[in-house]
Subunit: 404 residues, 2 copies
């Protein structure tokens, strides 16, 4: 497996693009995204576990029920959620995309992200869609990635190339995150495409396996969004033999999908609202995978820990405190904690108690922009990673006045 360029259009037969249509006030930022496959795709998706579900999710779920899709339409600037006419508007977006792209409306995945509870203006989308349809290209991943950004500061793309049964298979994706990120099924918005030949049920299985270790291990602020959506489309143009569960080909495909999801997850975490640092909690020696995940996510979600990391303060007591309330079965008196980054590693806690360490070295380690928190539990063989970011003044600033 190797990482390649091309994002959501890296795989054969996929076109994408993005443009400004008029939903957002800021005209310099694209707000409408479309992705199209030249051929019919098998498709799978996962959505938020929030009881409040964006209208686009209800429509995408229905459209994906047959395991097929050919296109994606998504807008930023408005979540089309908690509106009386939400489903009608989401259906309309599918019809607009279908007409512009020459596909059935029921083969369109629709998604929206932005403010909740404001009526979505459909006219800008209606006007722009035919124009955008003509602009879709094999180089359009970057514009598509930009068009789904909200308070994201960098676009998020990833792609890999695999060999499956002697054939080259490519897959790639785009994602957006930033705030209200604590996925519990998947992340805010993520679209993955591949040219692999794979049935929709197998694709669904692989998708859920992949997100359990990646997107579901990200937390920016503990708020699970109403519009979390990840969809994967496979158009079969790589002409490999069909990938079936329990085969080496499946394992290879899953490895690729996990790599895309993990790469995008880390990009989401690092670009969390106001964030200055990517935090990765790597937990090992847990009794069960569930315990490992609870510990890793508990640490990453701790507000106090996140603020300490912003201040480059090696306050390991907060790591231990978070492990203690994470709900994991842990023997606290066997826990070790270290901080690690490009600048080195500093061990701060052994067997549940503080040890002497150099505050100077700790400051250096924690002043980097990617920090690993290493937690060893000495209770078994299971491991997990969780991804988050520091809590900063800018998070408060951005979210103190998001709507205006």
């Amino acid at each position: 497996m190797k990482h390649i360029e091309g994002g959501v259009t890296a795989a054969k037969g996929f076109l994408a693009g993005g443009m400004y249509c008029g939903i957002r006030k800021n005209k310099t930022k694209p707000d409408l995204c479309m992705i199209l496959s030249e051929k019919d795709c098998t498709a799978a998706a996962a959505f938020t576990s929030n009881l409040v579900k964006g209208a686009p999710i209800l429509v995408s779920k229905k459209n994906l029920a047959n395991g097929h899709a050919r296109a994606v339409i998504a807008n930023s600037g408005n979540a089309n959620t908690c509106n009386a006419d939400g489903v009608e508007k989401a259906e309309k977006m599918c019809a607009i995309a279908g007409a512009a792209l020459g596909v059935e409306p029921s083969d369109v995945v629709v998604a929206s992200t932005g403010v909740i509870g404001q009526v979505l203006p459909i006219e800008p989308i209606e006007e722009a869609a035919p124009v955008l349809a003509k602009q879709l290209s094999r180089d359009g991943s970057s514009m598509a990635a930009k068009a789904i950004m909200t308070t994201d500061t960098v676009q998020k793309e990833a792609a890999v190339e695999l060999e499956i049964g002697g054939r080259i298979v490519r897959m790639g994706g785009i994602a957006k995150g930033s705030g209200m990120i604590h996925p519990n099924m998947c992340t805010m918005l993520c679209f993955v495409t591949t040219d692999a030949v794979i049935g929709s049920e197998t694709l669904d299985k692989a998708l859920h396996e992949a997100i359990g270790d990646t997107f579901n291990m990200v937390s920016i602020d503990g708020d699970t969004s109403t519009n979390d959506t990840i969809a994967v489309l496979a158009n079969g143009m790589a002409e490999n033999s069909e990938i079936l569960p329990g085969t080496p080909a499946y394992e290879e495909f899953l490895k690729g999908l996990k790599e895309i999801c993990k790469t995008l997850s880390k990009m989401l975490a690092k670009d969390g609202e106001g964030a200055t640092k990517l935090l990765v909690c790597k937990t090992k020696g847990a009794k069960t995978e569930k315990d490992a995940k609870k510990v890793a996510k508990g640490v990453i979600c701790s507000t106090l820990f996140k603020a300490a990391m912003f201040g480059a303060d090696a306050n390991w007591g907060r790591v231990l405190c978070a492990i203690g309330y994470s709900g994991a079965e842990v023997d606290i008196e066997k826990v070790d904690v270290s901080f690690s980054s490009r600048a080195g590693q500093v061990d701060v806690c052994r067997m549940g108690a503080g040890i002497d360490f150099s505050e100077d070295l700790a400051k250096k380690v924690l002043s980097e922009d990617e920090i690993d928190v290493l937690v060893t539990l000495r209770d078994g063989d299971c491991a997990a990673e969780a991804y988050g970011c520091d809590l900063t003044y800018d998070y408060v600033k951005i979210n103190g006045d998001y709507r205006t």
Copy 2:
């Protein structure tokens, strides 16, 4: 029932005091607190549910096992948690207090609050305890309340007077909170005294009933501390007939205890680290009390909602989003949301969808320092309240560099 002055020494026969002993660097802030009853007390307590438990908790639990106590010793500036010699030091604190006050060490409740994982220096306590013992007085509640403060900006005292069986019964308490506040048994530190005649089992029952609706409904930052402790001491000097469960006297006593706990809970929430506003989420119309509590606490804990309140932004979508992931059984399409304060009330969401409202009025309502979020679920008769605060730049500042 009426509120009275006197805090933790409002009840007959209780003395208290606080002084600087040398644990904290800042010499202008007292860091050692003692409370003494003239007579033996029945006693009850509740402690953190965090697996990481401060050493003082282990010792206090043991000392309270017989349902009796006479004194409290508590320090701020150091949590005496995650230290190899923690239990030894906590035992030593009880011995020191016992010797200074002339009571059995096993009749002393001990508590510590401050940074985790630094060895507690015992010498300053050893030297200061005999001096402090002589200073304890019937007017000492305020100094005792000051001595347990960490990043708290105001001292927290409350007291009430009840009539039980024709006798005047008084009870009062002190508390400290600020950060790492998301109690799951009780709050950071709270000591309540009463002159009521009540058995320790009845006292324990009343305490747990009271904290379920008060301290356990507070969240500052979602972090459950390692040292949460609430202890209540009853010395019987009011000479009422013994309060027994299931009687009107018990109900009256419980009402008083709840009032103390609720008053102190709101003080904790309003004085959360960096907070500028008290937020109270009042939920009604829930199917069960559990659902009502989940909704109220879910809203109060939402980082995004807290940041919006700091910015006086009526972003009700975040309230709905938090209700959606709170885990409560709710029909989102029946939910109403309003914001209310001294400046008036503004209705922002009806039957799960946005309604037109005056942004000017909303700004006025949300610019006050005590804000109620009113959530109506139309699903039943149960109600709950939760207490929290806004998320501000200062929270980040305080916690970005707490240890130094």
